[in-house]
């Protein structure tokens, strides 16, 4: 089970970091966003809560829009629109 990064559709990407702890989710999220264009959407799946804190701060600082957060079952599914 590795980290999955795939293009689902035009401007629509999926990054799955489930099973990985810090620093994988935040570092791969950063890397994934770098590969995307402004306006593209990243659906991010991860299950390491503390990575979430860093990803929130990272999006805020870099001007990316974290507009949907589905959590509560131990697995987080977030949507980020690249700024």
């Amino acid at each position: 089970m590795g980290i999955k990064f795939e293009k689902v559709d035009e401007g629509d990407f999926l990054l799955d970091c489930c099973g990985y702890v810090c620093p994988h989710p935040q570092m791969y999220t950063k890397k994934a966003l770098q590969k995307m264009d402004s306006g593209d959407v990243l659906t991010l799946r991860f299950d390491n809560p503390s990575s979430g804190e860093s990803i929130v701060a990272m999006c805020e600082s870099e001007g990316n829009d974290l507009y949907e957060r589905d959590e509560g079952t131990g697995t987080y599914v977030w949507k980020i629109r690249k700024g």
Partner: protein, 481 residues
């Protein structure tokens, strides 16, 4: 029932169960505590560790308080959140520690100053990048059901226990001057201080160094001035303020000015920006506050109990209670009286190895200083268990608990990184808590040296991790879109 309602109902059910499990944990700890006290009220000394551990676990998980993240996220993703949280906790704990010191209940001993602190910090800092958590972070993440973090704890424990008891083959790596100096110490034969690298490092190098607190150096004759001005303001608060300004300029200012659309910011704008950074993660700031206050309280309570029982160390109390197994030749055990992480983990693994037939009480670390008590009566180890349980409680309530089985990559990183953390902690005389946090806040500047080493190690670790990511992407093509 619509999909949304079904999800909400399932969520509510999960929360109910989580709260219930959390309540069961508190009830069990309370019952065991009551039974221990009914058997002998002197177990209160040990229970103080357990309950403070629970409190630390709650704060650590609530604030996701991890010093690995403080160093790593700064270099890896330029997020200063955790570094700021650690700084807040440092400033606050220095104030509570100063208060405890004035009251005469401080249990702190300054660390000897030497190169080993920088080197230990560097090895430790490199290791934490790969384990995904520092020593205290790995405890709270274990409480979140993270089996990878439990592997880290396993590795920290055993690497330390093995490292402090390396056999005669390791003598070749110790300078002759260490052996000569160790031999001069007149230690009992049974400790064989001239045999084994770590014994020679301790008896022949570390013991020849000295240390102290800023308060001691000020030596004004006023405990208030020495503690508050020396140990708190000069040793902790001023460096903390300087670091916060550096963090703001380097990692927060640019994004803040863009968001606020400020083109020519005045001093007021900059100060508001710094405040915004400090308060940007409320959970972390609150955890920093809680940890600072409770860490001071624990020193106070333990100090008061020592006075009450007329002891300097828990080992004396254990001996009075009839438990002499695993005590050092001075009838002591490891009993810091404040928040500490790694030594008790070394004892845990050392105790298991001892049970399997290892002759590991013939060294300075276990035989003279820390002992190898049964884990059930090892107070600091039970504090670590308390941290795991406290973190599990709040993770259950917040619906963040999930059993996470590591994959091969994470497991190998956990074991190798954990071993580096264990070795680094023993060379640097503690982890991010014992060698940094508890040190600087009590006026011991060696803690900043450890942090400098840890930061440098973390920086190199992030570079190495990036190289690993690139290598994987090029090899497996899974990230090369």
């Amino acid at each position: 029932m619509s999909k949304d309602t079904a999800t909400a109902a399932a969520g509510a059910g999960a929360m109910h169960r989580g709260t219930l499990y959390s309540g069961i944990i508190v009830a069990l700890v309370a019952i065991v505590s009551a039974m221990a006290l009914a058997a002998d009220t002197r177990w209160i000394y040990l229970l103080v560790y357990v309950w403070f551990g629970l409190a630390y676990g709650i704060f650590l998980q609530y604030g996701r308080f991890c010093m690995a993240s403080a160093v790593r996220d700064l270099f890896a993703v330029k997020v200063p959140r955790m570094a700021v949280g650690v700084m807040i906790a440092t400033a606050l704990f220095s104030l509570t520690a100063a208060f405890v010191n004035v009251a005469g209940y401080s249990t702190f001993h300054p660390h000897p100053l030497g190169w080993h602190i920088l080197i230990g910090g560097l090895i430790f800092g490199f290791g934490i990048i790969f384990t995904g958590g520092c020593a205290s972070g790995s405890l709270y993440k274990s409480g979140e059901g993270n089996i990878g973090s439990m592997l880290v704890l396993f590795s920290i424990s055993f690497s330390q226990a093995i490292f402090v008891d390396l056999g005669s083959w390791s003598n070749a790596f110790a300078p002759a001057s260490w052996e000569a100096s160790a031999a001069d110490k007149g230690m009992p034969e049974s400790l064989s201080v001239t045999d084994g690298w770590f014994d020679q490092f301790m008896a022949g190098y570390v013991w020849d160094l000295s240390g102290g607190t800023v308060g001691q150096w000020l030596g004004t004759g006023s405990a208030w001035v020495n503690s508050f001005l020396g140990n708190a303001v000069i040793s902790s608060i001023l460096p903390v303020l300087a670091i916060i300004v550096v963090l703001y300029i380097w990692a927060f200012r640019k994004g803040y000015l863009r968001r606020e659309k400020l083109e020519n910011p005045g001093l007021g704008d900059e100060l508001r920006g710094i405040w915004k950074m400090v308060t940007s993660s409320k959970n972390t700031a609150i955890a920093g506050l809680g940890l600072g206050v409770f860490a001071g309280l624990q020193m106070w309570v333990t100090g008061a109990l020592r006075e009450h029982y007329g002891i300097f160390n828990f080992g004396e109390l254990l001996a009075k209670m009839g438990y002499t197994n695993g005590l050092t030749i001075q009838y002591t055990v490891f009993d810091p009286g404040y928040w500490y992480i790694t030594t008790q983990e070394a004892q845990f693994a050392g105790w298991i190895l001892n049970g399997m037939g290892a002759d590991n009480m013939d060294n300075v670390y276990f035989g003279l200083t820390n002992g190898l008590p049964n884990p059930l009566i090892n107070a600091p180890l039970l504090m670590s268990l308390g941290i795991i349980l406290g973190a599990a409680m709040i993770a259950l309530v917040k619906k963040e608990f999930k059993w996470k089985v590591p994959n091969m990559e994470t497991a190998i990183f956990a074991l190798v990184g954990g071993a580096l953390m264990g070795i680094g902690a023993r060379i640097g005389m503690g982890c991010n808590v014992g060698a940094f946090f508890a040190a600087v806040t009590n006026g011991d500047l060696t803690g900043w040296i450890f942090l400098a080493g840890m930061t440098l190690g973390g920086f190199i670790g992030v570079k190495a991790f990036n190289a690993w990511m690139e290598y994987r992407a090029s090899k497996e093509d899974d990230f090369a879109l």
